[in-house]
Symmetry: C2
């Protein structure tokens, strides 16, 4: 939803919250079902739609006009998660706009000619300063869960992902931001980085198990990177293997599993400098994105690519 | 939820329903938010939990004790979908039982020693006969959308996936079953298959656009394969790039994008026979699965692997 607060634009996104597994609350929810409508039946299978409504205390005259839930907030767990971006920029608006998606294949030539210079211009224009501020300890230090191997080539820090509720273990979602600044995306990974990546992969999983000591094992964690990422400083998503991702963030064409990338590099022909700069990478891209508007969309109709040239 | 109805077992599953995009109903929902709790804030980002509760008419003494929603069911769309299986079997119960998932890494040695012989035993025990019956035209011919290059090495047929409603274009989900029977999974793909895979990839996308002529373009389609697949006869999932998958079917650790596999083979060091048999593959596996019970779970505690040996 796009609206305004004090005349400035704001984006509000709503998500259905996870169900509770607390038996008392499950009972409350079941007894609150109303408007039950049968949609169909087939042999032993039947399906329905319904509304849930918070358990209401017995109404009486003194509370009838106030909101009955407030009297007993714990009787019914939240069913909605809201995310507010305020004030938001046109870039946020286009990111969240309903848009047509395309699946494109970025060749090494397209990467070197158009994408890499565009990423460089983002890095030099100050758009990654907020990342560098976290890394250097200037901001958001209260969110940093731990720093590992800090001050060495293997340094990384662990942050909770914005979309994680910070308490549900089966939806654990952390970000590992590496300390080194020479790797912008998976495109920069080369055979020479294999030992570094293997070490990082192991350390990140090990560190993540310490966020909930004794509650999550290393073989319950999955690590992946995005291409294209939201920001071009190498970071690894660490999630619980049972986490149900939203918005396709773990889908093929968006996410690459870290162990698989290492295996790919390992099996690659070439010297130490050989890496993902030299392969084609397929991914989904929204028609409202800068990449579509100033590159893929233009290429599709035979126009000149303007990516990074309008600024 | 597992319970009983008339002394027979029944399974009830609940899902959050999709949001409506009807502006009036969105307004109703927003004005119904209660128990708004701020979870955190970071710069321009803020997130909250809340309850929705159906819009209530102004309370008065005559309606205060009845359920206010029933008076105006259309004012608030359903927020829950329920699925009932009744009576259910033990097999249903184990399928829907909560199981722990693990992320495992299948080395070339584990594949050759345990997995490959197990796949072979499945193929020779008749468990793939239903696939061969479709391929040879004995069954399910009414579902076959088209056969391409049939009778050649490039032959494949196109079927709708069981989970597709067969009408919503943005959730298009087809399966391409190849005619050749020597490729059981991505493990069998080698450098020598690159021309065949490129041809298949192109033909499959082209064929899929013909299912809805003029409504879906080739760059709106994404192709991937599963590992482990449900059955060990090579098949490619073809989906609309906007399709929102359920149950992680497009996730890293389950799905591999076809174009990416071809790029990997292309960049791989070695002769024509080199391929995915020689790399480690990471994937998620449920603890109720045969693979966990008779291989990964046993290996984890140092027991002898029994996969395929109990039959």
């Amino acid at each position: 939803l796009l609206g305004t607060i004090d005349a400035k634009q704001a984006l509000l996104t709503l998500e259905r919250a996870a169900f509770t597994s607390d038996p008392a609350q499950v009972n409350n929810m079941l007894s609150s079902l109303t408007n039950l409508t049968n949609l169909g039946a087939n042999d032993i299978y039947r399906w329905y739609m319904s509304n849930t409504t918070p358990t209401q205390p017995t109404p009486n005259l003194t509370t009838a006009s106030s909101n009955p839930i407030d009297a007993n907030p714990l009787s019914y767990p939240p069913d909605i998660k809201l995310n507010l971006i305020y004030p938001c920029t046109p870039k946020h608006i286009s990111k969240y706009s309903t848009q047509r998606f395309r699946f494109v294949t970025e060749s090494p030539t397209i990467y070197i000619t158009h994408i890499r210079p565009w990423i460089l211009s983002q890095r030099t224009s100050g758009r990654l300063d907020w990342i560098f501020n976290i890394l250097s300890g200037l901001t958001e230090q209260e969110d940093v869960i731990l720093r590992s191997d800090w001050g060495t080539e293997s340094g990384f820090l662990l942050l909770p992902d914005l979309n994680w509720d910070r308490k549900t273990i089966t939806s654990l979602h952390l970000l590992a931001l590496v300390e080194r600044r020479d790797i912008w995306s998976l495109r920069d990974l080369k055979k020479k980085h294999i030992p570094w990546l293997r070490h990082l992969h192991e350390k990140v999983r090990n560190a993540a198990t310490k966020v909930f000591p004794g509650q999550v094992e290393e073989d319950e964690l999955k690590c992946y990177v995005h291409y294209h990422p939201t920001y071009y400083h190498f970071h690894v998503h660490v999630v619980h293997v049972m986490m149900e991702p939203e918005g396709g963030t773990q889908n093929v064409g968006k996410a690459w599993e870290l162990g698989g990338l290492v295996e790919w590099l390992e099996s690659m022909e070439g010297d130490e400098q050989k890496g993902f700069e030299s392969v084609s990478v397929g991914y989904g891209v929204g028609e409202e994105s800068e990449l579509w508007k100033e590159l893929w969309g233009e290429m599709k109709v035979g126009q000149e690519v303007t990516l990074g040239k309008s600024r």
